[in-house]
């Protein structure tokens, strides 16, 4: 059985000539296989990228604006990490072919380290988005209504918040509003709209169903302004009571005179004067004043769908690369050098890098 076709998986060259090339350098079956696998991988990724292209062309402005919410710095560092891992991988293949075990171990070790580093940064990015919410609260009615926008992190993700807020919009959120029962007077008719670098808040006394948004009541708010002037609630800490009130933290800027106004927000308890010195100001918001909560998860919009699908699949590929890399490292530590296998894993690893080279500008930069 040891010399059978099953054992080898191919017909050795001395028995059968290569049907495709016949002349010139023969190609190792393993190498042929990995290249064919990469060819199928190209088709796999272009399918996903095709989805991205079509969706983006349908809403170019939204994609551009939403892309701004991603962390360019982390992604840039990740790009460099992957490129560096590609370098160490190439050097590892070289070392394996030259039979330099110590160098192979060093280079494989560095590659695995970089792979873990990439995944760690990816984790930071993801957890940033998983704790990110846009929250809209309103006090008063009509044109006099004050709109409070929070665009940032929830401080703690305890069970209560998880149960009530971190839910796909349109499903559980409806349940929340129903529970609050705010379809009476002053029905939330506020629309949060990302337009380039500004957030536009539109509100109207009319009911949402009628969708009559009075343009004259449109209040354009610079995103920067929202961020810097404590205009908004900075973190929903927890739902004290599922139906009654939400405990809210807000950051106050030192020396900012406007914070007092903002601090006396919807049903404010703790006010500006006394706690102005504190970094965090605390006040409560009635749940009925919360008009909208949008989670920065995959279902936020089609951009985030694309983002999580593409980076998620790529991340899985990185994990898929860590496994054979680790195996090779272990074998090298045991004194065994698998030069061709190292080369094949290297080809795969470079491909993972190559995919990221396209994902980085497509998702983060343009």
């Amino acid at each position: 059985m040891s010399e059978s076709l099953l054992d080898h998986g191919y017909i050795p060259e001395e028995h059968a000539p290569d049907p495709v090339i016949g002349h010139g350098d023969p190609i190792a079956p393993g190498k042929l296989a990995i290249w064919l696998f990469l060819a199928s991988e190209i088709m796999f990724f272009i399918g996903l990228l095709g989805t991205y292209i079509v969706l983006r062309s349908g809403s170019p402005q939204m994609f551009q604006a939403q892309g701004q919410t991603l962390n360019k710095t982390l992604a840039g560092i990740n790009t460099l990490v992957l490129i560096f891992s590609s370098l160490t991988m190439a050097l590892a293949v070289d070392a394996a072919q030259k039979g330099n075990r110590n160098r192979l171990m060093l280079m494989l070790g560095l590659t695995v380290l970089m792979a873990f580093g990439f995944m760690f940064i990816k984790y930071l990015e993801y957890s940033d988005k998983f704790h990110h919410y846009t929250l809209l609260a309103k006090e008063g009615t009509g044109a006099n209504a004050k709109i409070y926008i929070y665009d940032g992190h929830l401080e703690s993700m305890d069970v209560t918040v998880n149960d009530n807020l971190a839910m796909p919009k349109g499903t559980e959120f409806i349940k929340l509003t129903e529970a609050i029962g705010d379809h009476a007077e002053g029905t939330p008719a506020a629309v949060l709209d990302h337009k380039g670098d500004r957030l536009e808040v539109q509100f109207d006394d009319a009911k949402m169903e009628k969708a009559t948004i009075d343009k004259s009541k449109t209040v354009p708010v610079e995103k920067k302004q929202i961020r810097e002037k404590a205009y908004h609630i900075n973190a929903v800490r927890r739902l004290v009571d599922k139906k009654e009130e939400i405990n809210v933290h807000t950051y106050t800027l030192t020396g900012d005179t406007e914070h007092a106004e903002a601090g006396a927000g919807p049903h404010g308890k703790a006010e500006g004067g006394k706690e102005a010195a504190h970094e965090h100001q605390h006040y409560d918001i009635q749940a009925k004043d919360v008009n909208d909560i949008v989670w920065y998860g995959p279902q936020k919009n089609i951009f985030f769908s694309c983002y999580f699908a593409l980076t998620g699949v790529h991340g899985l590929h990185v994990i898929g690369g860590i496994i054979p890399l680790s195996l090779l490292l272990i074998q090298a530590a045991r004194g065994k050098i698998f030069a061709p296998h190292t080369e094949y894993v290297g080809l795969y690893w470079h491909f993972v890098d190559l995919v990221w080279i396209f994902l980085f500008p497509l998702l983060y930069l343009i």
Binding site: E3, G30, K31, M43, I46, G76, L87, A339
Partner: protein, 118 residues
Amino acid sequence: MAENSPRLKEAHGHSAATPHHKVNYFLIFGILVGLTILTVGVAFLPIHHEWIKVLLALTIASIKASFVAIFFMHLKFEGKLIYFIMIVPLTFTVVLICALIPDIVMPALHNMMLGRPY
């Protein structure tokens, strides 16, 4: 496994046949880092036309990808067969993108007719 079994022979014979490619990997790495910095820099340029931005970003990405494929993946030293294997999916990629052109153009036309930015 026997020392002279075909698998080992294949492993050591073919792949190790052309092992010592003279590539300055550090240079390639430097070029890739430089291009990464360039693509980030271009993203911060005040280019308002989206298509130019996309085109620039994709061009730089393609150059980077070429460097990875040619030097890190040793395409430079491969035979025709590997190129053939790669050309097929790349052709399919182009075909697929071309097939998407109606989906890309129609929303833009739609927006144009409605007077929205596209």
